[in-house]
């Protein structure tokens, strides 16, 4: 089985694609983390300030 040789474009854009990939991975991690925090705190809406202050 032979692989096609890497195109020059891929080499040229490697840094850019890697950076974008990391940003997208971080975005997924943030959305997942935020969802988990919101769910474990018992609700997706923000808590009123007074309620949180009393905690």
């Amino acid at each position: 089985m032979s692989f096609q040789p890497e195109h020059e474009l891929h080499k040229r854009r490697f840094g850019r694609n890697l950076g974008l990939g990391l940003v997208l991975a971080a975005f997924v991690a943030i959305v997942f983390g935020m969802t988990m925090v919101k769910l474990t705190r018992g609700g997706l809406g923000p808590k009123p300030a007074t309620q949180e202050a009393g905690q």
């Binding site: 840094g15 850019r16 950076g19 009123p48 300030a49 949180e52 202050a53």
Partner: protein
């Protein structure tokens, strides 16, 4: 941007990731991140650490997005000024359209996600800050009035208020004081820069005070604003966000800052050119320390308060 990316750029003629990141003005972002963090931690309402970290990230992204939109609109000025000639658009690495697309996309993303993570008041305040910086300052004030930096300075002063709003969901006297601190600090900081960057603003035809009212008037303005700032900064020590640590920092730094401003007002252009604007450069560097130290002291007071110390 690293040397590696510069080399890659020159070899390939294609923008690298670092060039797009440079659109977000990373150095300005450090100020935004730090002051927003202080606003968030000084607030009397505890925030979940992960949500707090996300809020700071979104505020930083929003600040960076406004920087990209500023570079998109001001690319003609940036190409003329020595200080900004190496920015991605005038350097030919990123196109204006790319900068605009990145700026708009990140602005919407940052505001929506800050709203989702914390509350919609904080998201709205971030949106207003981006609007203020891009439309009010960049598009309107900057090319029109010598008061550009005075009024436009509000944009850089909002982050601690947004951090505070992310925690509390509103505005209070303490967050307004933190806003005022950065707001009053901005004019002397930028006017000192305008003094030693000399012809940059003249060449770009930006109506900075040095261009419209002359360098003598700018020196006087620096002193007046520095005295007003000192009154505000020391007075803040006796409010809810202040305390003994903050007072000590404020007294020392404001004494040095006023001394620096007096030195600047006593000098004329011949004296400044003789030592390559040493006093003006020193004042500018001190202004950076000034802001970080004041917000650092507010943060220390907030942390001490958690252990039953700090404050009065």
């Amino acid at each position: 941007m690293t040397d590696t990316s510069i080399n890659a750029q020159s070899q390939t003629g294609e923008a690298q990731f670092g060039d797009y990141f440079a659109l977000l003005k990373p150095r300005v972002m450090t100020l935004v991140v730090f002051t927003a963090l202080v606003g968030l931690l000084a607030a009397p309402v505890p925030v979940h650490p992960f949500i707090g970290a996300c809020a700071i990230l979104f505020i930083a992204v929003g600040g960076g997005a406004s920087g990209a939109l500023n570079m998109w609109y001001d690319s003609d000025i940036d190409a003329v000024m020595r200080r900004t000639q190496k920015r991605p658009i005038p350097a030919g690495k990123v196109t204006r359209d790319e900068a605009f697309a990145i700026g708009i996309t990140l602005s919407v993303f940052a505001c929506v996600f800050l709203g989702l993570a914390t509350n919609w008041f904080a998201g709205g305040l971030l949106a207003f800050t981006i609007f203020f910086y891009v439309v009010i300052y960049t598009m309107w004030l900057k090319r029109w009035t010598p008061q550009n930096i005075v009024i436009g300075g509000a944009a850089g002063a909002f982050p601690p208020m947004i951090g505070w709003a992310a925690a509390t969901g509103g505005v209070s006297v303490e967050s307004v004081l933190m806003f005022c601190l950065t707001f009053m600090w901005t004019p002397p900081h930028f006017w000192a820069l305008a003094l030693f960057m000399r012809n940059d603003y003249d060449n770009a035809q930006v109506p900075m005070l040095t261009v419209t009212h002359g360098r003598r008037a700018t020196r006087v303005h620096i002193l007046v604003y520095t005295i007003l700032l000192a009154i505000l900064a020391v007075g803040t020590a006796f409010t809810a966000v202040g305390g003994p640590v903050y007072l000590a920092v404020a007294v020392v730094l404001n004494a040095l800052f006023v001394k620096g401003a007096i030195q600047i007002v006593r000098r004329n252009e011949d004296m400044s050119e003789a030592d390559n604007f040493a006093a003006e450069r020193k004042f500018f560097k001190l202004s950076l320390l000034f802001l970080f130290a004041h917000f650092g002291a507010i943060l220390v007071e907030a942390l001490l308060r958690q252990f039953g110390m700090g404050g009065w």
